[in-house]
Every structure is written in structure tokens, then in C-alpha cells.
């Protein structure tokens, strides 16, 4: 097991306050979700999931077609579509546009895709000021941390920690009431909105047949980000496209319910192009950055590419008994929890953190709550096999491989299996200071060994 993942998991596990914070916050989200998708609250929930899965499958199977349709329709509205293969291309595009327009201040609304390519850091490196305007993201930007959770980025922080942070970073009196903390952030951010030259948002859906970017949010900051500055840039992964506006009827019902247990997010914005003549609101320029960043590498695998169906609701995190213990920062990339465990190895290679697909009890809770029915446990199993194949190629973990060969041999030789068991029982549990037995004993007791195996008892029956 890689030391960093193990070390961070351990640190989370021994931090009692953090344990309580994660368990409580995810528990609340989990409960709210299960209330609003219950049989009585949403009788057609399972049909919606099946539909969403079918739409996503169809779209990913025909991704080039729908991206081209989306592009045509965005340009028809006077917007521009920019394809970027990685984070460098995204920041190059933003920087060159900013330079041409003499822009310095950027406001940002929440976007996992920009987190994925460290956009803020890249822009700041070139002297731009890029300010997160989602409250949770703003807190994390001040704290120089990455999101802890796909939907609730500052889920791990208490209001007391936020009070200390604001006092230190904003030079304001310490304030522990959440409403007052929000007001403090709002006062700072309002000025940024008014002065910003560029607004960068993410996108929840890209609608091919209408060339619209759809953004759902609760704070209203995305609406301001996309309408107050003169330039709006939406950054989205290529997998965010859906064929038709009417498909939103399926996805919007599922997204807010799965993410936060809301029937609908507070704001749902449909953005299609810059402000037209005679319109009051909206930017002068409208760009959609379509990011690959490894996504097309997932396409050849007909099963695993369902990972691209993800709508980033975070339901799998909230229900995952592993995420609820080790939290988001133990994971090696911005995507954490079950979805992170399948995305990271596929985007970055299985050896980036080979322990990741194994850090699951395979309980299946993630697959059960996924609104687009990604079979996460099955993909984890396939990734485990990929790790072992890669290990074999590179000569890693030879002892374990040998162990499983011995296991397979023993399990195909019943008499030897029987004899091994008999010898084992006569000797009792070995005492060992390392290895699997010691690992078991570090947390639990072992069952007493029976005097006889089942087959021995059966033969005497």
C-alpha cells in the first residue's frame, strides 16, 4: 500500500473530531436523499435511473456526434466552443483571452472540472486573481485546501475552524455564527463580482440540441458569475453533453435529489450564448471550454467507460462506509469516494495509486445509490485485475501472486485442502507479528478453531 494514501487515511481515522464531522454531514445528506427517492416520494425513481443510464450510454456511444451538434448550436447563438486536451490548454486559452481584453480579476463558481486541472493555481501563477465565489470553495481557497467532497467541498470543516480562518485571512473579528460568516464572505465577494472582468463557471449539462449550458446551484453565485462580468467561460468535461433539452426532465429530477436531497436546486440556469441585442443581462462574450484531460482514454473500454456517465452528485460518497471513515483528502485526486476510486486509476493510470481500487469492502452501496446506475463495484473489480496484470508485467508483488497460485492449487485438490485444514487445526492459530493474521488481530479477535471440519463431522453423521 502506498504510504501517502495509508498515512492520510490513518490521520483521518484517529482524528475524533473529524470522524464526527464527516459521519454527521454525510449521514445527513444520505438520509435526505433516501427520503426524497423513497417509493412514496418518487414512485418512478428506478425508471428514472434506468432512463438516465440509457441516455448517458447512448450519448457516450455517440459522443462525437453530440459534441459537434452542441458546438454548432452554441456558435449559432454567437458563442464559441474551445476544445482543450489538458489543463495547460485551458489556462493558455484563459490567459491569452485575458491578455487581449486586459482582464485581471476572475470570479469563479463551483466546478470540479477546473479543480481537476488546478485552474486557479495556473492562473495565479501568471499574475491573475481568481476568486472562488461558492461559500465552501471560497473557504477552501482561503485555507489553501482542495475540495473534501464533490458537492459539499468544506464538509470537513466546523464553523469554529471557519471563524479562525476568516479572522486570520480576512482580518475581521472572530465570528462563529454561520449567518454572520456568510455575510462576511458575501461582503467580500460582492465587490469581486462587481469588479470582475471574467466569470468562469463549470457546467452540469451541455444540451446538444439547444446549445445551452445548464448550471444548478443553491447560492446564486453561479448566476452572478455568468452574468455580471463581460466575459463568461464555462469549463466542462466532454462527457457533460446530453442530446436533448427534454432529457433534463430526467436528469434534473435525479441530480438535486441524489446530491442534497432537494427536489430541485435553488437556481437552475440555462445559458445559451452572449447577451443579445435588447437584452439587459448577460456577458458580451460566451465561451465553452470542452475538456478532454484523459476522458477519451476511457472510451475504448466498453464496460469501464460507463464511468463517464457520472453527473457528480456525490451520493456515492455519502453512502460509502469507507469515505465516511477516511474522508476526501485521503484520496489522491480531487475526485474522492467510490467515483474517485474508479476515475483516478483510469485517468492517471492504475499504478498512480495502486491501492485505491482495493480500498473498498465491495459492499455495493455506491452502485445502489448512483442515479445513472454506474456499476462502481464491478469497475473496482476490473481495476483490481488491471492492477495485478500491471504488477505482473512489472514484476511487483510476486509473493502475493505466488500465494494466490498456491490458493488455487489447494482449492482444486480437495484431499490436500482437507489435510491442510487438519494440520492447521492441530497446531492452532499461529502467532505472528506481521502478515494478514497480525493485521486481523490488530483490530479483532480470531474465532476459536473447531475440533473438526464440517467434512469430518459429516462423514461421521
Amino acid at each position: 500500500m502506498s504510504t501517502e494514501f495509508a498515512q492520510k487515511s490513518h490521520e483521518a481515522l484517529v482524528d475524533a473530531k473529524l470522524q464526527l464531522a464527516i459521519y454527521t454531514a454525510t449521514g445527513r445528506l444520505k438520509e435526505k436523499r433516501s427520503d426524497v427517492v423513497s417509493d412514496s416520494a418518487l414512485p418512478d425513481y428506478q425508471e428514472l435511473r434506468t432512463q438516465a443510464n440509457a441516455i448517458k450510454k447512448h450519448t457516450i456511444d455517440n459522443l462525437d456526434h453530440y459534441l459537434e451538434e452542441f458546438e454548432r448550436n452554441v456558435e449559432g447563438h454567437g458563442g464559441k466552443v474551445v476544445y482543450c486536451k489538458d489543463g495547460t490548454e485551458v489556462s493558455d486559452f484563459v490567459l491569452s483571452l485575458a491578455k487581449e481584453r486586459a482582464a485581471h480579476l476572475i470570479v469563479k463558481s463551483k466546478s470540479m472540472t477546473t479543480e481537476e486541472v488546478d485552474l486557479n493555481e495556473r492562473l495565479e501563477h501568471h499574475g491573475m486573481e481568481s476568486v472562488e465565489t461558492d461559500l465552501g470553495e471560497y473557504i477552501l481557497q482561503l485555507a489553501h485546501q482542495r475540495p473534501y467532497h464533490i458537492v459539499a467541498p468544506a464538509l470537513h470543516m466546523t464553523r469554529y475552524q471557519v471563524a479562525d480562518l476568516f479572522e486570520r485571512e480576512l482580518h475581521v473579528p472572530r465570528e462563529t455564527a454561520i449567518e454572520k460568516q456568510t455575510a462576511l464572505a458575501r461582503a467580500v465577494l460582492r465587490q469581486k463580482f462587481l469588479a470582475a472582468d471574467v466569470g468562469i463557471s463549470g457546467a452540469n449539462f451541455l444540451v446538444a440540441d439547444s446549445g445551452a449550458v445548464v448550471i444548478v446551484e443553491n447560492e446564486g453565485n453561479a448566476r452572478l458569475t455568468t452574468s455580471a462580468p463581460k466575459i463568461h467561460i464555462a469549463v466542462a468535461g466532454i462527457e457533460k453533453v446530453i442530446p436533448r433539452a427534454q432529457d433534463l426532465a430526467t436528469f434534473l429530477k435525479l441530480l438535486a435529489r441524489s446530491a442534497t436531497g432537494q427536489l430541485l436546486s435553488v437556481y437552475t440556469s440555462f445559458l445559451s450564448g452572449p447577451r443579445r441585442a435588447g437584452e439587459i443581462d448577460g456577458p458580451d462574450e460566451f465561451y465553452v471550454v470542452l475538456l478532454d484531460n484523459g476522458r477519451t482514454r476511457l472510451l475504448p473500454d466498453k464496460n469501464k467507460r460507463q464511468s463517464l456517465y457520472c453527473i457528480r452528485c456525490g451520493a456515492c460518497l455519502n453512502t460509502c462506509p469507507v469515505y465516511r471513515k477516511i474522508g476526501g483528502h485521503s484520496f489522491p485526486w480531487v475526485y474522492s469516494g467510490p467515483i474517485g476510486a474508479i476515475l483516478t486509476p483510469q485517468f492517471m493510470g492504475v499504478q498512480h495509486e495502486p491501492a485505491l481500487p482495493f480500498a473498498s469492502s465491495l459492499c455495493g452501496a455506491c452502485g445502489e445509490v448512483c442515479p445513472v446506475k454506474i456499476d462502481i463495484p464491478k469497475i473496482l473489480l476490473e481495476l483490481r485485475s488491471d492492477v495485478k496484470k500491471s504488477d505482473a508485467r512489472e514484476g511487483r508483488n510476486r509473493l502475493e501472486k505466488l500465494g494466490f497460485r498456491a490458493f488455487a492449487w489447494l482449492m482444486t485438490h480437495p484431499r490436500m485442502f482437507e489435510m491442510a485444514g487438519r494440520i492447521g487445526r492441530s497446531m492452532g492459530w499461529p502467532t505472528s507479528t506481521k502478515g494478514p493474521l497480525a493485521a486481523w488481530l490488530s483490530e479483532r479477535d480470531l474465532p476459536p478453531l473447531p475440533a473438526h471440519s464440517f467434512r469430518e463431522l459429516w462423514s461421521r453423521r
Partner: protein, 241 residues
């Protein structure tokens, strides 16, 4: 009557919890089945499969297939092992059409114990009697891959003297997960302790489950925590008189 049933007791029950296998045989016989034990049986291969060693898992799965192909029905005291056979064997043999056909033919005849009793044998009351307050732990694979939820509860409802108190949440993993339990022992132990908290809140004296591996994890953690709460496999409860 006289339905022929083969026991697949699983490697774990065979070697560590033989009383579970004996109880299962007893209950099945009381339900009117004619029980046999194919002696060549060992394991379903899940440890290798879940660890990413598919070739080794395939070898063991093939052995299982050869051992049980002649059986009319195979009954298993574990939702997890049953799910391995009925859901994952097919993945292992997708490149061998002939073997795959044999797998598909067999998987229809492999049953998780409580499902077999309620759906195939059509029995809910096996005449068991146990004065005990219990709580039931849903094994994840049985629950989510096979839909085992009501069957064990219906069976428990007919046990005289037994009171079932549901824990919240009953459906959360105990943290076993096969090699996960030792590869990520600290994490697995933390998950087990959360499970134990839920168990203790019920006031039950015994945890019942249809999965021996979950019970080994839960019992191990209970004992380590100094608790006197015990564990029983569903078959043991149903065999009580």
C-alpha cells in the same frame, strides 16, 4: 417431498464454523429435503477474484463447476459466496462459450440458504424455538447482489420465543470485505466498531446473519471490545429447538 439438495458449505464454514453447516443440513432435512455433500468441494474462488487474480479465480470456479454440475440444487450458507457463483462466474468465463453455457445452466440452481427455504422449499416455519432478543445484519452481497432482505426476516418471525430488533442502519457494511479486512485493517476495524455501536443500541444479546464472514468480523470486534453479545448464523437459529 424428498427434494434433492447439495450442500456447498463454503471453505470458511467447512474449516472454521462446521456447526453452521450441520445446522443448515438439519434445517433442510426438516424442510423435507434429501441432503448430500459433494466431497470434492472447496471454495468458490472469491478471495482470488476480489484480489484481482482472475486466472486463479477461474481455476477454482472451474473446480466448483465440475463438482456441482450434477446437483439438482445447491444451497449455500453465505450470500457472498452465492453472489460470486451466480453473478461473477459468468464474467470469468465470458471468453469460453461452452463453459459459459454450463455456468448459466448451473447458476439457476444455486441458492442462498434463506432464499432457498422461502422460495424453493416454500417453508417459513421450520419449527425452531429460541428464547432470545436478536438483531439481524444484512450481508452486503446477499442484500445488494441477490436481494436477500425479507427471506431471513420471515424465517426469524416464525421462531418461537425470538424477538427481532432492527438496528439502524442494518444495511451498512460490517467492514469485512475479504482481504480488505487485513489489507486495510485499521479502516476495517473502524467500520466494524460503527456496526457494533448500531448493534449495541438495539439491546439485543445476539447478532444473526446469513453470512459467516460478516459474523466472524462482527464477533471478532465484539469480543475485542469486551462485549458479551454473541453471534449466530441464521441456520443455527433455525436449527434451535
Amino acid at each position: 417431498m424428498g427434494r434433492r439438495v447439495s450442500l456447498f458449505v463454503t471453505c470458511m464454514v467447512d474449516q472454521l464454523f462446521p456447526q453452521v453447516g450441520m445446522a443448515m443440513a438439519d434445517v433442510l432435512e426438516r424442510a423435507g429435503c434429501q441432503v448430500d455433500f459433494p466431497e470434492d468441494q472447496t471454495c468458490c474462488g472469491q478471495p482470488a477474484f476480489n484480489s484481482g487474480y482472475r486466472n486463479e479465480a477461474r481455476t477454482v470456479a472451474r473446480h466448483f463447476l465440475n463438482t456441482f454440475e450434477a446437483s439438482e440444487a445447491v444451497v449455500v450458507p453465505s450470500g457472498s459466496c452465492t453472489a460470486m457463483i451466480v453473478h461473477h462466474f459468468a464474467e470469468l468465463f465470458h471468453k469460453e462459450p461452452e463453459t459459459l453455457a454450463r455456468v448459466h445452466a448451473l447458476e439457476k440452481r444455486v441458492w442462498e440458504f434463506s432464499t432457498f427455504l422461502t422460495q424453493v422449499a416454500g417453508v417459513e416455519d421450520v419449527g425452531a424455538c429460541l428464547e432470545r432478543v436478536v438483531t439481524f445484519h444484512d450481508g452486503c452481497h446477499g442484500l445488494r447482489e441477490l436481494g436477500v432482505k425479507d427471506a431471513p426476516r420471515r424465517l426469524l418471525a416464525h421462531v418461537r420465543g425470538l424477538e427481532l430488533r432492527e438496528m439502524t442502519p442494518a444495511e451498512e457494511c460490517c467492514g469485512f470485505g475479504g482481504t480488505f479486512a487485513v489489507k486495510f485493517s485499521e479502516l476495517s476495524g473502524a467500520m466494524a466498531r460503527t456496526k457494533i455501536d448500531a448493534i449495541q443500541r438495539t439491546g439485543a444479546s445476539t447478532v444473526v446473519s446469513a453470512d459467516p464472514s460478516c459474523l466472524m468480523q462482527i464477533q471478532g470486534a465484539l469480543t475485542r471490545a469486551g462485549s458479551d453479545i454473541g453471534t449466530l448464523h441464521l441456520a443455527e437459529v433455525l436449527a434451535s429447538r
